[in-house]
């Protein structure tokens, strides 16, 4: 098993090969991912919006799988209407009904089918049936000589409270059945991940809703606190132009730290500025070749990229 070391996207050159932005995880986060790999448990990651929770999964996939990481990386962006079953499989009942009524497939059975391969894996699409994100991940764990597939379940707290509970068995045992479906031999379809190559699940949550205890128990948990983020390194890596303008970089980062502390201490805004806002802001500074001064006590230049509510802007405008 190849362990995640956080070095796959550590500079612009490497990350461009994957068509991704650089990602520099903290040591604690790397250790947490390593624990998840070793224990086979999902890793639940929380943190402020914009701290890099969702990016972790593709960074892990890129490092473990290299250039073709997208064949082994599965992303599920959960919505408030998402159902757990959507992640397992989807049966196209309407198409089946339509074909039955129109008599188009009268020479063919209307069975819901999925082709099975010799090594207990299945195709990802069959007759009236498509595997969802988890189903595809389980099936891809049988690909020879490959590392564990990586699955991102993003913002799981958006969905209904029953959603995490409905996935307990699948996350635990990594198996599920598809009722009413058969393989080419007429046997039932039973999807199961390769025990020796279990997918690595990275689950993110914005903490908008509490997650059920039974679900939390099965996950490892890591909170990306802002203090562990290597802001300095991230800024230099993403913007090499700033690495050669140390004064500008220093004043930008000092300003950022001061504004962040001010917003936090004032308590007037529920949204503090985080890594993602910083990077957007630095992008504008670099793009516009900003040469002016950045003062901690003033409204930041290009504040539109940093301050996202009226209260924060008013806070600095008063100074």
């Amino acid at each position: 098993m190849k362990e995640f070391k956080g070095e796959g996207l550590h500079n612009l050159e490497e990350s461009k090969k994957f068509n991704l932005e650089p990602y520099l995880p903290s040591k604690k986060l790397i250790e947490a991912v390593k624990l998840a790999q070793l224990s086979g448990r999902p890793l639940l990651v929380k943190g402020e919006p914009g701290c890099g929770k969702s990016r972790l999964a593709d960074a892990v996939a890129a490092e473990l799988h290299g250039k073709n990481f997208r064949d082994h990386y599965f992303e599920w962006n959960v919505k408030s209407t998402s159902k757990a079953q959507d992640g397992l499989f989807v049966i196209d009942h309407l198409k089946r009904l339509s074909e039955a009524n129109l008599g188009k497939q009268s020479h063919k059975s209307l069975n819901i089918g999925l082709e099975r391969y010799g090594d207990n894996s299945y195709a990802t699409e069959g007759d009236y049936l498509k595997l969802g994100v988890l189903g595809k991940a389980f099936v891809s764990s049988y690909i020879k000589d490959s590392e564990s597939p990586v699955v991102l379940i993003d913002e799981i707290d958006k969905a209904d409270i029953d959603f995490p509970n409905d996935l307990l068995l699948e996350l635990d045992k990594m198996t599920f059945e598809i009722p009413d479906a058969v393989d080419q031999d007429g046997n039932g379809v039973h999807i199961k991940a390769n025990e020796k190559n279990r997918p690595l699940f990275i689950i993110t949550s914005n903490d908008e809703k509490p997650l059920p205890p039974a679900f939390l128990r099965r996950c490892l948990f890591h909170y990306i606190s802002f203090d562990e983020i290597q802001i300095d390194e991230i800024a230099k890596t993403r913007f090499p132009e700033l690495a050669v303008a140390p004064d500008l970089l220093k004043s930008a980062l000092d300003g950022f730290a001061a504004w962040r502390a001010k917003i936090s201490n004032s308590g007037i805004s529920s949204k503090n500025i985080s890594t993602s806002e910083l990077l957007d802001w630095l992008f504008l500074i670099v793009k516009n070749n900003y040469q002016g001064e950045i003062k901690k006590d003033d409204l930041p230049p290009y504040h539109q990229a940093l301050l996202k509510d009226v209260e924060s802007i008013q806070l600095f405008a008063k100074l």
Partner: protein, 418 residues
């Protein structure tokens, strides 16, 4: 054979503390097997603490308390680490392994370099947890990179083995040094609390969170008389047969719990009445309590001597109901009552007469309903010294932060948290 608790005492204490989600036996054995496998190297107390935190702690808010607990249980944790070391030594003698390599104490010049690195890294120490760092990678210590990323000078014996199934990690000498905690003290930092905000635009919790809260107060029961169309079942039936034969029906489900929200509309509550309205609004929107109505009182529900009951009013004070009337026909254990009142906390009021009367009311409630909680819009630190502090001893009282609202819902569901 040294008797060790295998971290069982620590695990038991963590489980006994009801203020967080307890790890289960599976999580306990998972940690043990991870340590035993040797794939996650443990070089110091911090490594083990990080492993325990990642595996057993499920909430960021409880992190300080958890670390505090680990610090108090330092001896047990270190004993356990010693035991693992002893186990390794025993297994080595059985397996006739290669002799262990010489001590990996750094040479003098490397020592100087290490100290320089430590000094260089001083200002990079995590300010929140200066000595709390995750474990080093499992690279051997003889790597070219001799800088100590974790500000720790590691001396130890390498346990070598040709059997990859056995534990094989560096066991530092200072795991045995229990009298030098200074290098490994976990610093418990203060948690910054954001003050409450009460405006019309920004409530302490979102509308969706409140709805979700009310939705958790469900105890579904099939309605006796009514049926409703089961659309999913109908479509599934059509798909199976290939043609429409008829609708599929299912029983209508009621929520067995009956929710009552009693709101205090006295003058002190004027500034926070909008949140009370939001509580009512979201309870209705949650679709779990559609028949619910809010009832109001002013500082204290009016006691009606004649009927030995308490009177509540609608918002406009055009109707009144006694509590027995409201609860009549309902099963007591299914009645959930939420009181929303500042209880004298905003003004720092402590009126003994009122306290006596309110306590009488709270006892009355206890006899006539299943669970009741008090939501206090005033910050917790204002309760002591006011009537609210006294009421908090009679009825579970929570502030209106997200965490406390979740705890209040748990209490209403019958799960009591410390």
């Amino acid at each position: 054979m040294i008797e060790k608790s295998f971290l069982l005492d620590l695990f038991t204490e963590i489980r006994a503390d009801g203020s967080w989600i307890s790890p289960g036996l599976e999580e306990y054995f998972m940690v043990l097997s991870l340590i035993k496998s040797g794939k996650y190297p443990i070089q110091n107390f911090s490594d083990l603490a990080f492993l325990l935190e990642t595996s057993w702690l499920k909430s960021y808010e409880k992190r300080e308390k958890f670390r505090d607990l680990l610090e108090r249980r330092r001896t047990e944790i270190l004993n356990f680490a010693d035991y693992i070391q002893e186990l390794n030594n025993k297994e080595q003698s059985f397996m006739n392994l290669d002799p262990p390599m010489e001590d990996d104490a750094l040479k003098a010049d490397e020592n100087v370099q290490l100290k320089k690195n430590i000094n260089k890294n001083q200002n990079k120490v995590d300010p929140e947890y200066p000595d709390f760092q995750p474990g080093a990678s499992n690279q051997p210590i003889q790597d070219d990179d001799n800088s100590d990323d974790y500000n720790e000078h590691v001396e130890g014996k390498r346990v070598g083995t040709s059997n990859e199934n056995l534990v094989s990690f560096i066991i530092p000498n200072y795991l045995r040094l229990r009298h030098s905690p200074a290098a490994e003290r976990i610093v418990v930092s203060e948690v910054y609390n954001t003050p409450f905000i009460f405006t019309n635009d920004y409530f302490p919790v979102k509308n969706r969170q409140l709805q979700q809260l009310w939705r958790t107060l469900k105890n579904k029961i099939e309605g006796n008389n009514s049926m409703e169309v089961n659309f999913e079942g109908t479509i599934s039936k059509i798909a199976q047969k290939g043609y429409f034969t008829g609708f599929s029906f299912q029983r209508y489900f009621n929520n067995r719990f009956q929710l009552f929200i009693l709101l205090d509309d006295c003058e002190a509550m004027v500034g926070v009445s909008d949140f009370g309205t939001e509580l009512i609004h979201t309870a209705k929107e949650s679709q779990m309590h559609q028949e619910f109505k809010p009832w109001f009182f002013s500082e204290l529900p009016t006691y009606n001597d004649g009927i030995n009951d308490y009177l509540l009013y609608n918002k406009d004070r055009t109707r009144k109901r006694s509590i027995r009337q409201l609860f009549s026909g309902l099963v007591a254990k299914n009645i959930l009552v939420v009181i929303y009142s500042e209880g004298g906390a905003f003004l720092g009021k402590k009126d003994e007469v009122q306290i006596k009367q309110m306590n009488k009311f709270l006892n009355f409630l206890k006899r006539h309903c299943g669970q009741s909680v008090w939501l206090n819009p005033a910050p917790r630190e204002r309760w002591n010294g006011s009537s609210a502090g006294v009421y908090a001893r009679q009825i579970p009282m929570f502030d209106t932060s997200r965490r406390d609202l979740d705890r209040s819902a748990s209490t209403l569901r019958g799960k009591f948290l410390k």
